[in-house]
Symmetry: C2
Subunit: 359 residues, 2 copies
Amino acid sequence: MDHPFNAIWRTAVKKSIALFAVLALAPLSGAWAGEDLMAQAREQFKPIPSAPPALMGNAATKERVELGKMLFFDPRISASHLISCNTCHNVGMGGDDNLETSIGHGWAKGPRNAPTAFNAVFNVAQFWDGRAEDLKAQAKGPVQAGVEMNNKPAQVEATLRSMPEYVTRFERAFPGEKVSLSFDNMAKAIEAFEATLITPYSRFDQFLEGNATILNKQEKEGLALFMDKGCAACHGGVNLGGQGYYPFGVVEKPGADILPEGDKGRFEVTKTADDSYVFRAAPLRNIELTAPYFHSGKVWDLEQAVAVMGQSQLGEKLSDSQIQAITAFLKTLTGEQPKVEYPVLPVSTATTPKPVAMQ
Amino acid sequence: MDHPFNAIWRTAVKKSIALFAVLALAPLSGAWAGEDLMAQAREQFKPIPSAPPALMGNAATKERVELGKMLFFDPRISASHLISCNTCHNVGMGGDDNLETSIGHGWAKGPRNAPTAFNAVFNVAQFWDGRAEDLKAQAKGPVQAGVEMNNKPAQVEATLRSMPEYVTRFERAFPGEKVSLSFDNMAKAIEAFEATLITPYSRFDQFLEGNATILNKQEKEGLALFMDKGCAACHGGVNLGGQGYYPFGVVEKPGADILPEGDKGRFEVTKTADDSYVFRAAPLRNIELTAPYFHSGKVWDLEQAVAVMGQSQLGEKLSDSQIQAITAFLKTLTGEQPKVEYPVLPVSTATTPKPVAMQ
């Protein structure tokens, strides 16, 4: 099955790959010299900075980050008082839940694989379809989704307001505001914390910073292939992805087991036919820690995911050794995991709304 | 409704209270002098030590504690890969889940309120009915319970064995053993970690250590009442409870809303009629952090819990000011909460058994 829009996308992506090949790949004819490889990689990728980036309209003060950490770990922002942000974005497991799709309120199965919260601050927008422009917009989604936390903003505010320590902490994190404790400020505090969940110092970043010997031969071959074959056209920048939207199956649509027909991706956001089965290119940082893969979470093996991408996005059947080399390269993207001290949460009071297991 | 065994218990408890009164209370006739109060409290209670106690048959080496922490936080020991020990024994919420009864596999509702893991090492035995003799025996229960993690020992072992980092860590934590990685050793490692979850330096402990002014007048009145009225007869020792088994309703049985008829407590363990509706006296450390109360989790308010205890265990309707004083004293039992750095968990591999959401 093929759609006209696929042809358009295919042409556009192929053009950019072709241009890229003319500009960059031709002189090297497939065999990358060490310095040239590094120079070329520096054109397309950027290392993760050692400190979180500034946030638009959200000053990440110490008070705000600390409050955000509490909220991130507090299951009482869910209706059941069981599910916290960390349930699906586990800071000990690469920032996601390692499940096909998440389990939420009432043991409901979510529609898409939980993306990692690590380095998410570097993505152009949040969710697989980019429907939230930033992390503070994102944070409000799962709290309210029926299959996730199943809560309501007013109930969340009542819950937080019932605990004097939260009231004080909101006042300190949002000083001078008429109403410090609000659902919006909850989301801003969570964003401030999540922006600290970055993973610098991966071996690949050390390579980008000038350490030419930190990658072995196979990993360098994989990096070269990753650029040569065109993967980097969509998976570039700081996060090797997370920057643009592309149809899954630009050349050849994968089967419905991997690309379920019912989920049209960004089409649901833009209602534009061109955006059918379009998704934000997955960011590939720490990818070895966040199986299973794709928005459907149907592929558990990273080598298989690479093979599927070759076929569906590039129309190329990669050889086993190419797949292994690219996979070896992808494993160099694992950075230093965030150190998180578990927060001691404020204690509930008599006025804290009771958990609702089913509603 | 009254049972013959209640009369027996009532007599026994009343005798011990009477003896206690003769020995200790008589000279003070209800009004406690500061030093006498401290001396008397030291007879009945012990402060939490600043370091974890030794464990019978389980050397808590650094390697074992660190491995135990990983296992405590690893949801992959549950069938669904969603539920970890920390889900119901949340280290940020007083060591329990602040729910009536826990939510487990398939959103099942557990039969009893989750006891805190904090200071549990000081209890004579584990669970509300004492059916596990220690923390390592306890740790195996929830992993296998259908309404909790719903897993099987062989599956847990296969899961852990699929991750090279766990294999290495088990070898280091249990050196020289023929089979280091086993379900039994998983439980021992978890016990070693849980034994570190102690909360020393509460204001009450500082009082026991000689700081006479750290408790205010109302708190001291509460402490005096707690001993005078006989609460301390069951709630003594390091944990102010957790040492012996007593019928809930020794004098007057509470209603079925608080003491559901279907749960006969320790009777299920011993099959002895005398043990009908007998439970381990709840340890009261950090009690203000672990609402709701009782094995049924039906009482959310600590003052109400104190009132219920007065009526059911002592046959006495405590006055409002007495209840408030005892509650104020109980809040001095909140200690320094454990500092826990979230562990970075080993990454799953191709041979890691897949999560089973429903089975």
